[in-house]
């Protein structure tokens, strides 16, 4: 998800090869490191991961929400409106805790909520295509010509230098989040993107195609997969759809994942870990040469490319849902996305609200329900307190210079620091 923000911009600048290469190599690096971590740390990590309670997950979601506010973009007002739209869409459907329908307008099709795939396809694929098609004269008939291939594996010395740290940081974020029973891959990719965009020496390039914005999230995404294997192998807890399928496969072989798996089913576990190493190498061997092929997609004439995108978007939504209603919904969201793009509303906060909103709400209410309504549950355990304090710090620290400046009456600096450009 986060990759598409910078990756798309890099492609527009003719750096598609470098973007694909840093994604492929980043995935390889992250996959390799996290597989090593999995083979060494799985058991102690799982022990730590199951300490997380509902209140801790809530605190974690708050921390993530605060940390990724950079995605809100240049205008705070617009960013928050986009975020509110995402939070609202996240509310649609049956409330998981009480079983009551919310904002479904009596339609059975909305009872299960709005699938995130439908929203992403609608906003990114359909909305973007409509936007570009609506202004044929503003964009060149083909994207910027590809830069000549330079450097090793399509990455220049400069690219390597700028990529390796994001790869490592992405891995460090992705693996532990994947290991949390309610973690998932979305949070670490967003966190990695935000971190890189704040810490990069090339901050100004973010949003215009910064290689760090591709390298970090891609690594985080791949590392989180190995993380998912931690609770799966050691506790038999599947935390993603892929993991659930693997659990079913284990049962066919009469292997029950669980605390004893590393002792009892050792041969299978080590074979699995070996296959992960092998898979990573193969992925790299396949991806790098294929970059030559993928970038050819950019040379397709625009009308053909756009209609192709729409066809695949429609097909994709129908394939995941099997429902015409969902396809129409994706197009309706696409129209919303078109107007958002047109009037300069950022898209990413919608997705963010849609992912984090329900998670925060569910865990918050669950925690309160478990404590019989006592808010003390959010301050009674060290883990929750640490996470919430980090969230407060993340919220306050960036504003401290401004507040201090305001206190001194330094109005010029205050205005600059606010960063509102409209």
């Amino acid at each position: 998800m986060a990759t598409s923000i910078e990756g798309y911009q890099m492609a527009r600048r003719g750096r598609a090869r470098a973007a694909l290469a840093t994604a492929a190599i980043g995935s390889f690096v992250a996959g390799t490191i996290s597989t090593v971590l999995l083979s060494v740390l799985a058991v102690p990590m799982a022990r730590f991961a199951v300490m997380f309670r509902a209140a801790d997950y809530f605190a974690l979601a708050v921390l993530a929400m605060v940390a990724v506010t950079a995605l809100v973009g240049r205008s705070m007002t617009r960013g928050l409106l986009s975020l509110a739209l995402g939070l609202f869409v996240g509310l649609v459907g049956i409330d998981s805790l009480t079983g009551q329908a919310r904002f479904t307008f009596g339609s059975v099709n909305l009872l299960d909520g709005v699938n995130i795939v439908v929203v992403i396809v609608g906003l990114f694929a359909i909305g973007e295509t409509l936007h570009l098609a609506s202004r044929p004269h503003d964009v060149p008939s083909t994207v910027a010509p590809l830069e000549p291939a330079r450097g090793f594996a399509w990455l220049t010395r400069e690219d390597w230098r700028r990529s390796w740290r994001p790869w490592l940081r992405g891995t460090a974020l992705g693996f532990p989040f994947g290991a949390l029973p309610s973690g998932g891959a979305e949070l670490p990719t967003f966190l990695s993107y935000t971190y890189e965009s704040k810490r990069s020496k090339h901050r100004d390039e973010f949003g215009e195609g910064a290689i760090e914005g591709v390298a970090g999230p891609e690594a985080a995404n791949n590392a989180s997969f190995s993380g998912v294997l931690v609770p799966l192998l050691t506790l038999g807890i599947p935390t993603s759809a892929t993991a659930a399928v693997m659990l079913a496969a284990f049962q066919i072989f009469n292997v029950q994942p669980g605390p004893d798996l590393f002792d009892e089913g050792g041969a299978l576990v080590w074979a699995l870990i070996a296959s992960l190493y092998l898979g990573n190498v193969l992925l790299l061997l396949l991806n790098l040469p294929l970059i030559r092929l993928w970038v050819k997609v950019l040379q397709i004439p625009r009308p053909v490319l756009y209609s192709g995108i729409l066809v695949f978007a429609t097909l994709g939504v129908y394939a995941v849902s099997g429902s015409v209603f969902q396809v129409l919904l994706a197009y309706a969201i696409g129209v919303v996305g078109f107007f958002m793009r047109r009037y300069d509303f950022p898209i990413a906060p919608v997705i963010l609200g849609l992912i984090l909103g329900p998670m925060m709400e569910e865990q918050f209410r669950r925690a309160l329900s478990l404590s019989n309504g006592d808010f003390g549950v959010f301050v009674s355990r060290p883990l929750t307190v640490v996470l919430l304090s980090l969230a407060v710090l993340a919220l306050v620290v960036p504003y401290t210079p401004r507040l201090l400046a305001r206190g001194r009456g330094d109005r010029v600096l205050a205005k600059v620091a606010l960063g509102e450009d409209d």
């Binding site: 199951v50 079983g99 009872l111 993991a243 659930a244 079913a248 029950q256 994942p257 605390p259 849902s321």
Partner: protein, 347 residues
């Protein structure tokens, strides 16, 4: 030389052809729909075309697995020479699929749908406009017992210990399991009623899937977990969870190596099986219904089906025809009552 008039006629002809294609396709679909199957009394030939089994949930779940196992056994067991297809209609505890079966496939014996206890509950909690009694019940097929577990460190050794505390202070016990209004919460509601506690007072926290419930039991969020026996089996076996009771008519091994006692043996009049079965659309003639029941009877007695049951670890729970109908009616009444008592049926 072609005159303008003839050219226009030609164009009109092409247009008519273009329009007629969907009509022909539509007609073919209707014919396939089975309206040509004689609805008169006596025996009907069945199946005469492709049988379509709807799994009203996403691929990979229990209903989907049941539908696909039926598909495989119908073919491998040589029960029918007609093609058998499975399609998934996802959403809202199967009520989306149920609405489709009732509204779109009326009187079509070649459309079957997998159903189960969860759908009975879903109809109530989702205030579905369509309910299961509107379908033509064919048979119940399989069932799985539920298990009540506590973390290993819990002070409760038997279900009676647990329920004693539950009676004394209902909100002190944190129950957790699958989605709101599902089998797990229904069991908690039934147990509360049997113990003389108002089901509304029971603190039940729903989780999306067994993985989250297990994590919540291990982290200490939950005091008691409720799920199907297979879900907790491994953690019971490794000693991290303790099985207090199972919900069927007889004790089954919930992982500890010896059969866990039933809820009835523990002193509470509750029996609940997470059953799955198959229904046909409304509007079937008696002969058509008998023919579908006969087909499923044949499926049930086939070796391929027996092998599949053993492989999946499902209990045989076969009731067909009128027996299935009265069972379905009884379950609907019982489940609707308990969900209303819990406060999930809404107003």
């Amino acid at each position: 030389m072609m005159t303008t008039a003839s050219r226009a006629r030609l164009r009109a002809g092409a247009l008519a052809l273009a329009i007629s294609i969907p009509i022909v396709l539509g007609a073919a679909a209707c014919a396939e729909g089975g309206n040509d199957v004689g609805a008169s009394a006596g025996e009907v030939e069945y199946p005469t075309s492709t049988i379509r089994i709807m799994a009203p949930a996403a691929p990979g779940g229990g209903w989907d697995l049941t539908a696909r196992t039926m598909q495989k056994a119908l073919k491998d067991g040589g029960v029918t020479s007609q093609a058998v297809e499975v399609d998934n209609v996802t959403g809202a505890a199967g009520t989306v699929g149920l609405a489709q079966l009732v509204s779109k496939h009326n009187a079509d014996p070649h459309r079957l749908m997998v159903t189960g206890l969860v759908m009975v509950g879903g109809v109530v909690t989702n205030k579905s406009a369509v309910n299961l009694t509107q379908t033509t019940p064919i048979a119940t097929l399989t069932a799985e017992a539920e298990v009540i577990v506590v973390p290993a460190a819990s002070k409760y050794q038997t279900l009676a210990d647990l329920v004693d505390d539950f009676k004394a202070n209902p909100t002190a016990i944190k129950w957790g399991g699958g989605s709101a209004g599902g089998t797990d919460q229904i069991l908690v509601g039934l147990l509360a009623k049997a113990a003389g506690v108002d089901p509304k007072q029971a603190k039940y926290i729903p989780y999306s899937g067994g993985g989250e419930t297990k994590a919540a039991l291990l982290s200490g969020d939950l005091g008691v977990g409720v799920s199907s026996v297979s879900e907790f089996k491994e953690l019971v076996k490794s000693g991290q969870l303790r099985a207090l009771a199972v919900s069927g008519a007889s004790g089954v091994d919930a992982g500890a190596g010896t059969p866990a006692p039933t809820i009835k043996e523990s002193g509470f009049e509750v029996e609940l099986m997470n059953w799955r079965g198959v229904v046909a659309p409304p509007g079937l003639s008696d002969a058509q219904r008998a023919a579908v029941v006969a087909l499923v009877d044949k499926l049930h007695s086939s070796q391929a089906w027996k092998d599949a049951l053993a492989q999946q670890g499902w209990d045989d729970f076969y009731k067909s025809g009128d027996e299935a109908k009265s069972f379905l009616d009884a379950e609907s009444t019982r489940i609707t009552t308990v969900l209303t008592d819990i406060g999930l049926a809404g107003s």
